[in-house]
């Protein structure tokens, strides 16, 4: 479903260095790693928001580098994305979630309302259509973000730090929501997170980025048992180690 081949990206210094990665269809792939290891940039590369200097990105069989703006827009319709700091628009909850449906699909208003109500019920925020997201808690904003990312039923959903800044209970609720959503829709999911224990609880596969390189790629169990010093240190939260 998602395949990256030899991805290189640099800003002032190299951010991604030769990333090869494969996320099979219907899989929850967790990308972990310390801060500034290139996780968010990698997710934006997958979404076609950042173009790599070298390498190829395949999403649902299409190589993003070969696509023009229209082709890229067509691939982005297959992707839903939750941003780290919500990226909710200055609109009501309803308008935020209905936004992709109204802009991209010619749906009758009744269907838009039904789908928004269904999403809000799914993320445990029923009846909040008229509320202003800026006056809601961080956990609620994340859930609205999840609802907006999934309302158009995209086959791929990308989550950028879905639990950053949230308390442990709310974090686990968000992870459970991601897992339940993935099971219900059969989507392919990429989650990047610094919250290792939480994200490993839902991940089918795990990759770890360190200094722009993918130093580990395997199952959650293999990540926990890894003898790679950086992986071991990060997964178990050890003070001593190369990080």
């Amino acid at each position: 479903m998602i395949r990256l081949e030899d991805i290189h990206k640099r800003y002032r210094s190299p951010v991604l260095r030769g990333i090869d990665l494969h996320v099979p269809a219907g899989c929850i792939y967790a990308l972990i790693g310390p801060g500034a290891s290139g996780k968010s940039v990698l997710l934006k590369v997958v979404a076609g928001l950042v173009r790599p200097e070298r390498g190829k990105v395949y999403v649902d069989g299409e190589e993003l580098g070969e696509l023009d703006d229209l082709g890229l827009a067509s691939v982005r319709r297959k992707i839903g994305m939750l941003f780290q700091n919500y990226a909710l628009f200055d609109m009501t909850v309803f308008e935020n979630i209905a936004f992709p449906l109204r802009r991209l699909y010619d749906l009758p208003d009744t269907e838009v309302r039904e789908r928004v109500a269904e999403r809000l019920a799914r993320v445990a925020l029923p009846g909040t259509e008229d509320r202003d997201p800026s006056r809601m808690s961080g956990g609620q904003k994340k859930r609205i973000g999840v609802a907006r990312a999934t309302v158009a039923r995209p086959p791929i959903v990308l989550y950028d730090e879905p639990t950053a800044g949230l308390d442990p209970v709310t974090s686990q609720k968000i992870y459970d929501l991601i897992r339940d959503e993935q099971r219900a829709q059969g989507t392919t999911v990429m989650v990047i997170s610094s919250d290792v224990s939480g994200v490993l609880s839902i991940a089918d596969r795990v990759g770890m980025l360190h200094e722009g390189e993918l130093v580990f790629d395997g199952t959650a169990e293999e990540a926990r048992d890894s003898t790679i010093p950086a992986v071991r240190q990060f997964v178990h939260g050890l003070v001593e180690g190369p990080l």
Partner: protein
């Protein structure tokens, strides 16, 4: 390791700094020029987001009306006050209407309205787009397969240009009222004499020059404020820097456009 002898480094500092300024200027002008090109490509009536267009027309134009009207009224009055000593010295009451309206319509009206518009609407626009940029909302639009230029920039540019011209027309009328009132109170010039002096000597072209200038100023403010907004980086401090740069660049651009258009439209 540098090949430049240490004694030559201070001499190179000045051209280096000039070069950096020139590169930065070219970068910004090029960026704004490219944005203009992107806007022009998307100027097809069916592709313009009407909801966003009307929303921006209202908040950028209608809400600017009180401050623009106040500015225009004072501008008209000031023109009369400036002319007062000469009017009294030469007993030129028949010319005060023409003198006040000529300078207001052709030059001061559009210029001062543009500067107020820049401070109120341009700064607000940059702050809004800048905040959207640093909070990933612009990326969120792209991730939703929505073109940020078509959705965010095109309606704002149209709204700013249209409203700048409309506000100039209203401002001219209010300035005329302010000038008539001031002339009556300060110089005892009968409003009928003032208006006949203005209408007899003023040409339609004098009024149109002001409108053409306001159109150019509106375009300048719209492009600069959108460009700096979308180029914002570095969180909340970055938004502050972008607003500052946008207001300064727009004001400078307005003066340059005024200078050039005054030559062309003579």
């Amino acid at each position: 390791m540098s090949a430049t002898p240490s004694s030559a480094r201070p001499l190179l500092a000045i051209p280096r700094r000039i070069g950096l300024v020139v590169i930065a200027l070219a970068d910004q002008l090029g960026g704004a020029g490219m944005l203009l090109g992107q806007v022009l490509v998307r100027l097809r009536p069916r592709r313009i987001d009407r909801y966003e267009l009307f929303r921006n027309l209202h908040r950028m134009g209608v809400r600017s009306l009180p401050i623009i009207a106040a500015t225009a009224a004072f501008t008209g009055g000031i023109m009369v006050i400036q002319a007062a000593p000469f009017v009294e010295k030469y007993n030129a009451k028949n010319f005060v209407g023409w003198a006040a309206t000529f300078t207001t319509f052709r030059e001061l009206g559009p210029l001062l309205i543009a500067l107020i518009f820049n401070g109120r609407v341009g700064a607000n626009n940059t702050a809004e787009l800048g905040t959207m940029k640093v909070t990933d909302q612009v990326d969120a639009l792209r991730a939703l397969a929505i073109d940020p230029v078509g959705y965010l920039v095109v309606p704002r540019v149209i709204a700013m240009v249209v409203m700048m011209v409309a506000l100039c027309v209203i401002g001219d009328a209010v300035a005329l009222g302010g000038a008539v009132l001031t002339a009556d109170l300060l110089l005892d010039v009968d409003p009928r004499i003032f208006l006949s002096s203005a209408l007899e000597r003023l040409d339609t072209w004098d009024f149109l020059v002001g409108l053409i200038k306001s159109l150019l100023f509106g375009l300048m403010i719209a492009l600069m404020s959108c460009y700096y907004g979308l180029a914002t980086r570095g969180g909340a401090p970055g938004v502050g820097r972008a607003v500052n740069a946008s207001v300064v660049a727009s004001a400078a651009g307005v003066f340059v456009a005024d200078y050039l258009s005054t030559f062309v439209l003579e």
